[in-house]
Symmetry: D2
Subunit: 96 residues, 4 copies
């Protein structure tokens, strides 16, 4: 199956499903804060969200590297697209 | 003002406000994916969420270091609480 | 044994041993670049160094949280030391 | 100038110069540990090294994306090289 071979690539539906799960996790943290849950437990949940977002980001990057860059090669924009991709990787490594 | 001096510490209301903003940002990304927005723009938004979550996490850690540990000192749990805090920092640095 | 219980804490000798190993790893990467080794292999080594440095950093943070802050409590500097510690955690999360 | 346009790309000499500087920074930290310097100052130096290593890594990734992948396109290995690159980005984001 392509998804497995490609590692991080996800379909649009898979991406949306992951993002909806992240949205639910954020709401879960809001409830934890509201009910004064122990801060360490909340931090564990935040780390889980960061990991989930990293996975979404890697899926998008993988997609960019494969599809957008192919298209870029045809239209002569590959150079510019690589520059954009590297800037995005740099922001992800520094988180914003 | 205490908040400024303390750097990352936030009140419960400030934390909730930040989390609701993060929730809105995640929904914004869902809409971007749905409307096939350019992947690099979506990645920029993900980095912004990661940065916002890092800020929430630092606020909670700061609070843990100050208040929970004080309480821990009184109840003899400071050692254990520091161990938990370091494990949380380690997870945040590795993101999950 | 204290080291095990405390998780990340290391003696001065252990810290120095880890740092010398990191120094050797950096020299190893220099040799890889000099001999035009495949970039992905070099990146894997860089990630290994990052992980090793994170471990050193967590050891120092743990030590700071336990010993320096105790001393700070005695001398009334705990507040300031926590602020410094949180700023350091923030820099580590953003990597500089 | 190509280096500026390309963002992160560096020549072999520039990469080696950066790595030697990192090596010197690691030795500097060893001396700080040996002379019992304040842990927060050491942590600041570690963050500086992580940032320098991130820059080296981004330079190598950029180079991989541009040159290796071009070569991969010619030899039919582009798919495999993108998979390797994404795995490397994933490790860098998680730091090892």
């Amino acid at each position: 199956m392509a998804t497995v071979e490609r590692g991080y690539t996800a379909t649009k539906e898979q991406l949306l499903a992951r993002l909806r799960r992240v949205e639910g996790q954020v709401r879960g943290i809001e409830r934890m804060v509201e009910s004064d849950r122990y801060c360490i437990d909340i931090l564990t949940q935040i780390s889980a969200i960061q990991a989930a977002l990293d996975k979404v980001a890697l899926g998008l990057l993988d997609d960019h590297a494969r599809h957008c860059m192919h298209k870029g090669a045809e239209t002569g924009q590959a150079e510019e697209m690589t520059t954009e991709m590297m800037a995005a990787v740099g922001r992800l490594m520094k988180r914003g």
